[in-house]
């Protein structure tokens, strides 16, 4: 017993969880700040949240190239984790920036919102740095549970309730699959540590034909597929994205999705390495299905949020191409793509926040008719994000897709890349449609209600800079992604 | 030669016989105490309020409980037309049965040694010694909530529903306080087995030889935990002054408004059975169980009766709490105190080592 305790003490390495620790503590502290603040006063909480995110970001960056192992190999803060952590931090920061005025407009300025985002981010960071199925699961759940709340945050709006509930039900449902898969993997290998499972498979190669192991692996992956909204497990995405508060939708589509991808990469590339042949086929099919379904259904969407939801499904499909590639370029490509996606998608949602009206959030295509003339700067920014989502140079969307498809082609999946680009071509249509309404039609309204909230504008500017920077001179960040990839 | 513990594998027959005997004794005693606890309560409260209590049935009214029981047996068993019949019938059983089951893990006497066929056997005076006995008791206490919820919902009547909901809220609130308060005990005893806890309370207080005249009962080490647990338990079983769910004057008996006949009697019995269980647990956890100057089971019964008297006494003395006061006390007084107690105990124990 003494030995065990000694060992446990030695294994604690707070450096390995420092960024998420900072966010958790900040989250809890701000929760108290929130409850002691008068109702409606939330700005200071938002700024404190951003400050803590910056601190966590600095700590993460300082840990670059300095892999920390903690808690007996349950946590591993390596470059991979650091990169994804940064994505989550950026996503959270942008979401917070675009939230405060939005909450005031929606008449629901509640301070708990920000701590919840911080805790979600902390969960995402556990998830990306977890090398133990328990840690991954725990991170996933901390993330999910906070997001359930955030998705249904406006408790007096039925749409929001519904989004929260749907997210909750399907999230919990998928958690069941994930756990069952983990249980079976544990049963076969006798351990929950990712590297130990890999070692076990190495020692017992016939494990990969073990029915229990294969079933476990697939069930676990199913759980992850729900989280990254891969077709046919994507059903929740449009509803939830449409109903949830817009900043949360933006955040959800970037940070948590990136975290789910991170865990998926870690688990598949390390743990299930032996199943590569079978898994690439699965990923292949799912990737094609996901992008096709996302793009095709997005074609006839009128509601912008819903359209972006389907587009985000399609983008998950593109990112999955990196999984199929199963090589360094592919995994680094996913890293880079998720970063790119964070900027472009969150930017697009930030614009939706500005042009939405209070309460009536269902922004349709008609709602942006002629917007480009009445609010030229918004129009330009929105166009940049849309071009990025299309994947056109010189925006980041192009470099991101390039990275991903390069991975696939390097592994010989040329037809997958072809299907990928054909899907991009399909997606052009619905993104262009937004621009058609924005620029090619005469404005019907004067958009007097559109106020450029300063903080939201800052988030848009940051996103624009990010999109252009990653599009024009992406070399250094791509290099970082390469160092972080598997 | 060390005595052999009776197990099913080495001596199946003896084990079975002993088991059945223990169960039978425990049950009969339990039912008797339940029956006469009602009598005792009426008598004692009567005396305290300078009344006589029951006097007519039998000598000094001693047959009163039996008469009550018979009366209830022959009353009409009604199921209101709007009720859900199955759940309605299930509810009282769900309340009573767990409180009976809970006694299965309580040690009610010191070990019994006897020789059979030249082999020395030892029989623990306990129906079964689960190594997580406390958890079992808490689980059973938790099950009781279902009975009340079911009663409230199945009756499909406003008073019953309100009573049931209120009672549930109350029970779970105080279950927390009760559960937390005894954590400090386990920190000292290092076991969840009730028998183990009793054994841990042997010897002089805090192991100091100079204090050998004071037993090492946890009531001395953990007075706060004791108080908290007693109060919380009382509330958990809806005893006055925490009997809001049944509050006759406000909610017309709460969740048992619609009940009659033997089903009502089961609710009634459950309350007293719970009282016994709680007394027994408190005695075990804080007063050294069967240890004391007399035979094991006598010590134990004395402690139980003392607690029963205490409960009745409280009933006679205190007025009923208001609901907000009740919840306030559970959440804002007892819960923090219990948590603080754990922290303080932890620090104290570590410093002591």
């Amino acid at each position: 017993m003494e030995n065990l305790v000694q060992e446990a003490i030695q294994n604690v390495n707070l450096h390995a969880v420092m960024p998420s620790l900072i966010l958790s503590v900040a989250g809890m502290a701000l929760l108290l700040v929130a409850v002691f603040s008068p109702r409606g006063k939330t700005a200071h909480i938002a700024w404190l949240s951003i400050a803590s995110l910056i601190v966590a970001g600095i700590v993460t960056i300082m840990g670059w190239n300095d892999t920390q192992y903690g808690f007996a190999g349950s946590v591993q803060l390596d470059n991979f984790a650091a990169f994804f952590s940064m994505i989550c931090i950026i996503a959270a920061g942008l979401a917070i920036l675009m939230s405060d005025e939005y909450l005031k407009r929606e008449n629901f300025p509640v301070g708990e919102y920000y701590p919840l985002i911080l805790i979600t981010t902390a969960g995402a960071m556990w998830m990306v740095s977890g090398t133990d199925l328990i840690t991954i699961f725990l991170g996933l759940e901390v993330l999910s549970v906070s997001l359930y709340i955030l998705a249904g945050f406006f408790r007096d709006q039925v749409r929001c309730n519904e989004a929260g509930l749907k997210y909750f039900f399907l999230g919990a449902f998928s958690t069941g699959f994930l756990l069952y898969g983990m249980a079976l993997l544990y049963g076969v290998s006798g351990t929950t540590k990712v590297y130990d499972i890999a070692a076990y498979i190495q020692a017992n190669p016939d494990t990969t034909t073990n029915v229990m192991f294969v079933a476990g692996g697939l069930l676990m992956l199913t759980g992850f597929f729900f989280k990254i909204a891969a077709a046919p497990f994507h059903m929740w995405t449009p509803d939830v994205y449409q109903g949830a508060p817009t900043p949360i939708t933006a955040f959800m589509s970037a940070g948590p999705k990136a975290a789910a991808f991170a865990a998926l990469i870690r688990v598949t590339f390390i743990c299930l390495e032996g199943m590569q042949d079978h898994l690439t086929t699965v990923f292949w099919v799912l990737a094609v299905l996901t992008m096709t379904v996302g793009n095709l259904i997005a074609l006839n969407q009128k509601d912008l949020k819903r359209m972006l939801a389907y587009s985000s499904i399609a983008h998950a499909g593109y990112a999955m191409v990196g999984l199929v590639a199963w090589n360094e370029i592919g995994s680094a490509g996913i890293l880079f793509y998720m970063l790119v996606y964070t900027f472009m998608n969150m930017g697009a949602f930030a614009i939706l926040i500005l042009i939405g009206r209070s309460g009536e959030e269902n922004l349709t295509l008609d709602g942006v008719t002629g917007l480009g003339y009445k609010k030229p700067m918004l129009g330009i920014a929105f166009s940049i994000f849309l071009f990025a989502l299309m994947g056109l140079p010189p925006t980041a969307g192009f470099t991101g897709k390039f990275y991903i498809f390069a991975g696939a082609i390097n592994s010989g999946y040329i037809w997958l890349a072809v299907l990928g680009v054909l899907n991009s071509a399909v997606s052009l249509y619905y993104y262009l449609r937004i621009m058609i309404f924005m620029y090619f039609k005469e404005p019907q309204e004067d958009y007097a209600w559109v106020k450029i909230y300063p903080a939201t504008a800052v988030s848009i500017v940051i996103s624009v800079i990010g999109v252009l920077y990653l599009g024009i001179v992406p070399g250094s960040i791509m290099q970082l992604a390469r160092m972080a990839g598997f | 030669m060390t005595p052999e513990v009776l197990t099913l594998s080495n001596t199946p027959v003896l084990f079975t016989v002993a088991m059945l005997l223990k169960i039978a004794v425990a049950f009969v005693v339990m039912i008797l105490i339940v029956a006469y606890a009602t009598y005792a309560e009426r008598k004692i409260i009567g005396r305290m309020q300078t009344r006589m209590g029951p006097t007519m049935t039998g000598p000094k009214g001693l047959l009163q409980p039996i008469a009550d029981g018979l009366k209830l047996f022959f009353k009409e068993d009604m199921i209101p037309s709007q009720a859900h019949p199955f759940a309605f019938s299930l509810a009282p059983m769900m309340l009573l049965a767990p409180s009976f089951v809970a006694i299965a893990v309580i040690p009610f006497g010191s070990d019994l040694h006897f020789t059979y066929d030249g082999i020395q056997y030892v029989v623990p005076m306990q129906i079964t010694d689960l190594n997580f006995g406390v958890l079992f008791i808490l689980a059973m206490a938790g099950l009781g909530v279902y009975g009340i919820v079911l009663a409230g919902l199945a009756s499909n009547s406003k008073y019953a529903l309100l009573g049931g909901i209120r009672s549930t809220a109350q029970m779970i609130s105080y279950e927390l306080a009760a559960g937390l308060s005894i954590v400090a005990v386990f920190m000292l005893s290092e076991t969840l087995s009730l028998r183990g806890i009793v054994l841990a309370q042997q010897g002089p207080l805090w192991g100091i030889e100079a204090l050998k005249y004071i037993p090492n009962w946890y009531i001395f080490s953990q007075p706060l935990a004791f108080g908290l647990f007693l109060v919380a338990s009382m509330a958990e079983i809806n005893r006055t002054p925490f009997d809001l769910p049944e509050a006759e004057t406000e909610l017309v008996s709460g969740f048992c408004t619609e009940y009659s006949s033997m089903k009502y009697a089961l609710f009634f019995m459950a309350e007293y059975a719970n009282m016994i269980t709680i007394s027994a647990i408190t005695a075990t956890l804080f007063l050294g169980g069967w240890s004391g100057p007399f035979y094991g089971w006598m010590n134990f019964l004395i402690k139980v009766f003392a607690f029963m008297f205490f409960f009745i006494w409280i009933r006679a003395t205190f007025p009923r709490l208001r609901y907000d006061q009740l919840m306030h006390m559970g959440w804002k007084v007892m819960l923090p105190l219990a948590l603080a107690n754990i922290v303080i105990t932890g620090i104290a124990v570590l410093l002591w080592q």
């Binding site: 390039f402 040329i414 249509y429 | -």
Partner: protein
Amino acid sequence: MADNLLSIMTFFPLVGMIALLFIPRDNDAMLKSFALAVSLITFLISLPLAFDNVFKTSGGMHYREFYEWIHVGEFFQMNYNVGVDGISLWLVMLTTFIMPIAILSTWNAVKKNTKGFMAMLLLLQTGMLGAFISLDLFLFYIFWELMLIPMYFLIGIWGGSNRIYAAVKFFIYTAVGSLLMLVGIIFVYYYAIQSGSPVNGFGIQEFYQLDIPYGAQFWLFLAFGFSFAIKVPMFPLHTWLPDAHTEAPTAGSVILAAVLLKMGTYGYVRFAMPLFPEALQTFIPFLAFLSVVGIIYGSLVAMMQDDVKKLVAYSSVAHLGFVMLGLFALNMQGMAGGMIQMINHGISTGALFLIVGFLYERRHTRQISEFGGLAGKMPIFATIFLIITFSSIGLPGTNGFVGEFLALMGAFESDLRWYAVFATTGVILAAVYMLWVYQRIMFGKVTNPANENIKDLSAREIVIMAPLLLFVFWIGIYPNTFFDKMNPALEQLLQQINNQQVAIVEVVQPVVANVVDTK
């Protein structure tokens, strides 16, 4: 200065565009003059290229600039790698030359949102110049796609009544093709890496040295060729062109015809043909067939049009058929003819669109039946129109003759003889539809009262047309100015195509075939 000439030339319009954004939006005159000034300065910057005699002696790349751009370890490297040779030289010049004309042509035509219009034009110029000078496939792709965005807005915002349809069609057609090309580009790169060949990022000069197996070449040529064929446009993929041309504003049509379409043919010359010479051999009959079909079909459809602009648009399809046919002849005459025909088409079709624009500005209609007898009312216009018509038909003495003649002759001397025979009918058909439309518009009596008070060309319009006319005759009479600088590069190109052919026919590489046999 000379070291960075190409970069300065390319990015000057972009800088100008950014500066333009700070000019108040309602100051139309200022916006226009500024844009014009920017485009003129760009033209001046590019002038030294035209007078540099180094192109006469060497067919290689000149004015090279090379900077590392994106370097991601062993994953991939992209470089800023630019340069011009005799082939791209004249296309670059054409671009810088046409742009001031296009801007001048919109002086009064664009009424709404001048700022956006000018910004888009300047952005477009950067894209076009960049695409012509890129020696790195990745860089080329970036510029190639960059051209899409401004053109999309030019058509969509300032176009005619059916502009949305035309803009989206243009965008999606072009983007689909280019996306497939992207896959091809990435594949070539990794093929080069894996085959151990020396690689300098996505530099095409290194890619020229690759021995890509036939199986891969086939698909790659298809990917590249498809993309360029859309842009050219070749026969079955041409349907976006009439829509885009018709709906685009005059400046847009001019640039689209003069420069953007050259992107496709330039792509063939620079990338598809030399990179995949073996596959080229397979495709030549097919492509040549499509070119001839394009020539005849374009001419016939042009004949049927009621709308002048549509007529010009379809004539473009026919003209570019000649270009393609010349290029696929794979000999000096054909190549030179194709190349010069690209310039010619830029000048004459650009001029035709300007002429249509003049008409449209005056009458706000493009229906041929609305006009008639304009010759008497506007003599200067009639003269200019006639010259341009001759140029378009390819009358000797004008530029069109030189190009078409050389292209057809090249084709005739190569394996494409029979194609050339059929293509020749296109020349006759061109005469038919061009002269016919000229006759219907200019001659006869003024039947439509709206044409009674029609004004002749203004000074500005004459200034716009003058340089075009100059080049019509210059190329028509003394094309050697251009050929001198083009020939060395073309020779080198032909050598590249033919060498590779021989090399590949000789070397059989079964190992490589496995690599290419994709999953």
